[in-house]
């Protein structure tokens, strides 16, 4: 497994597009995640009020709430990591290097594992990064700083890892299926950000949809991922939120993960490469 990641690393470490996307992802996250307080100050300055609350006293970075707040925001950036996965695998198909790798002595299965090692490393790095980002901003802004609060609700980091890992596996499948980077990127972008969300809205709120159809929406591929970490921000206007990760959602996502992995394997197995 380490050998397979080493091979993957040799392919990527001098690839400018890879670094450009990595930098975009991490810089973007740092920028957005660190500027919550400035944003609130900006709102206050503009005269905004949230049901009579001064925005700057909203404890966005208080432990342990910071974990859900941050992981929730960070999931919007996972599409950039998906681009890395798609470009990496469609390049291998386009340049015929996947074929050459197999000729040289990698099995198709090992090739797949080398790509999964990339998926794992990206998800892992993103999670570790989020841990430190949350820890640092929390230590700066949080009003509670006892160890118990800091280290509770870390399940959101695990949920985040699962979400990114599954989404990147989905991206890998789309890349291998469509073989072309441009095509795959447009498709995953449209599906994730437009097609499925609108489908979900219709399923859940359109009065003309049958009741029985409504119940499928939590099982849709992107919807189920989004359900893992629920929107946390209504809690600041005293609304009830789901401040935990539900096992049901975890199992649905794991189901999709297995489907993706199995499909990728089947696809590669029966294809001439």
């Amino acid at each position: 497994m380490i050998r397979l990641f080493e091979i993957e690393w040799l392919k990527l470490k001098n690839y400018k597009v890879f670094w450009a996307l990595i930098i975009t992802y991490f810089l973007g996250l740092i920028l957005v995640l660190s500027s919550g307080m400035f944003l609130m100050q900006f709102f206050k300055y503009k005269g905004a009020e949230f049901k009579g609350i001064d925005p700057t006293i909203i404890p966005l970075y208080d432990f342990p709430d910071v974990w859900q707040n941050m992981t929730y925001i960070a999931t919007f950036f996972k599409i950039i990591l998906a681009f890395i996965v798609i470009i990496s695998v469609t390049n291998e198909i386009g340049y015929r290097t996947m074929r050459q790798n197999v000729i040289e002595g990698l099995s198709k299965w090992e090739f797949l594992l080398s790509k999964l090692s990339l998926v794992f490393m990206l998800s892992f790095a993103a999670t570790v990064f989020l841990f430190f980002e949350g820890l640092i901003t929390g230590l700066i802004y949080s009003t509670v700083k006892d160890l118990r609060s800091i280290f509770s609700e870390l399940e959101f980091l695990a949920g985040y890892f699962l979400e990114v890992f599954t989404f990147l596996s989905f991206a890998l499948l789309i890349g291998i299926l469509l073989k072309r980077a441009g095509f795959a990127i447009v498709l995953i972008f449209m599906y994730t950000l437009i097609f499925e969300p609108f489908l979900t809205i219709n399923l859940e709120h359109n009065p003309h949809i049958y009741e029985s159809l409504k119940s499928i929406s939590p099982y849709l591929p992107i919807r189920s991922l989004n359900n893992l970490i629920s929107v946390p921000f209504q809690r600041y206007v005293f609304m009830e939120i789901q401040d935990f990760i539900a096992w049901k959602d975890v199992f649905i996502v794991l189901g999709w993960l297995i489907i993706y992995q199995f499909s990728i394997y089947k696809l590669l197995d029966k294809r001439d490469i």
């Binding site: 050998r3 080493e6 091979i7 040799l10 392919k11 001098n14 690839y15 400018k16 390049n91 340049y95 015929r96 290097t97 074929r99 050459q100 790798n101 197999v102 000729i103 040289e104 002595g105 990698l106 099995s107 090992e110 029966k270 294809r271 001439d272 490469i273």
Partner: protein, 302 residues
């Protein structure tokens, strides 16, 4: 000599097209095996199947006496059709990936780059290479970590005459080390110069296989010329052992009955008062044989 590769009744269908049709062949250790055939006859498809990147429809093939695996592929250096490398990586880094895949150290990389004349470009990205340089790198990649078997599909594609001559030398040199080579090429002259065995494919079927030397030694065509070709032609027609005569540009190509040699012919012509300026036994070329084999097979299938 042990068997390196054996193929038995191999079939590959692409819909209605039979790209490979019940092909059987055996490659012995140390032989240099030429794979010949017109465009679309199934050479690349066959090589792709035995390298496990194209799925066979049916049939069997064995490497080193057992079924193919990623371990057996590590003992093979191969180019299939076009050079396949990472465009943004340098020659050296591309080769490093290969040694990593094969589980070998990086020490042979410089040596191989020198061998294919790319050492002074070793740090340039692959995408900046010319077609011939890409092809050289592919050959270098096949040679890396010293595999006992080489598979070369059109290895001289895009090379300059000097490059072709170098590759020919390289193949002969590698063959001299006892390696087994499978070579698909349209340059019959090349195949003739480097191969010991050959097989001819047509429409996916193996229609002929044999030793290159056998083909080259079966000729009985004799070339003759003199100052006056007209007169020579007239005289030679009177020679009773003449089988056939063809007038070519500056000479006559004739065939005699098997028992008669050039000595008898020359004596006859001298008696007729004709002095030859040229007398030679023409070696038949692989090309002639190849074309004849194809012609015969087409006749049969019609």
């Amino acid at each position: 000599m042990s068997e390196i590769l054996s193929i038995e009744n191999l079939v590959k269908d692409y819909g209605k097209i039979k790209a490979v049709n019940k092909l059987s062949m055996e490659v012995e250790e140390g032989s240099v095996y030429g794979l010949l055939g017109p465009n679309g006859s199934g050479k690349t498809t066959t090589l792709g199947i035995i390298l496990d990147v194209i799925k066979k429809t049916s049939g069997k093939y064995n490497w080193f006496g057992s079924t193919s695996s990623s371990e057996s592929r590590k003992k093979i250096g191969a180019i299939l059709e076009v050079p396949a490398f990472y465009p943004h990586l340098s020659a050296r880094r591309n080769l490093r990936i290969i040694t990593k895949i094969k589980g070998k150290g990086a020490d042979s990389i410089d040596e191989v780059l020198k061998l294919v004349n790319l050492h002074d470009r070793k740090d340039d990205p692959f995408r900046t290479f010319s077609l011939g340089m890409k092809q050289r790198l592919a050959i270098g990649a096949a040679l890396i970590s010293n595999p006992p078997v080489l598979i070369l599909d059109e290895p001289t594609n895009g090379l300059d005459p000097q490059g072709i001559a170098e590759i020919r030398k390289l193949i002969l040199q590698v063959a001299g080390q006892g390696k087994t080579i499978l070579l698909a090429s349209h340059l019959l002259d090349e195949v003739q110069k480097v191969c010991t065995h050959f097989i001819v494919l047509n429409k996916g079927r193996g229609i002929y296989s044999g030793l290159v030397d056998e083909v080259l030694n079966t000729s009985n065509t004799i070339e003759i010329a003199s100052k006056d070709l007209q007169k020579l032609s007239k005289a030679v027609k009177e020679f009773s052992h003449l089988n056939s005569l063809e007038e070519e540009k500056d000479l006559l190509a004739i065939q005699l009955n098997n028992s008669v040699d050039t000595h008898a012919l020359n004596t006859f012509l001298i008696e007729k008062g004709i002095v030859l300026t040229h007398l030679a036994i023409r070696k038949s070329s692989l090309e002639q044989k190849f074309l004849k084999i194809l012609e015969e097979s087409d006749d049969q299938t019609v």
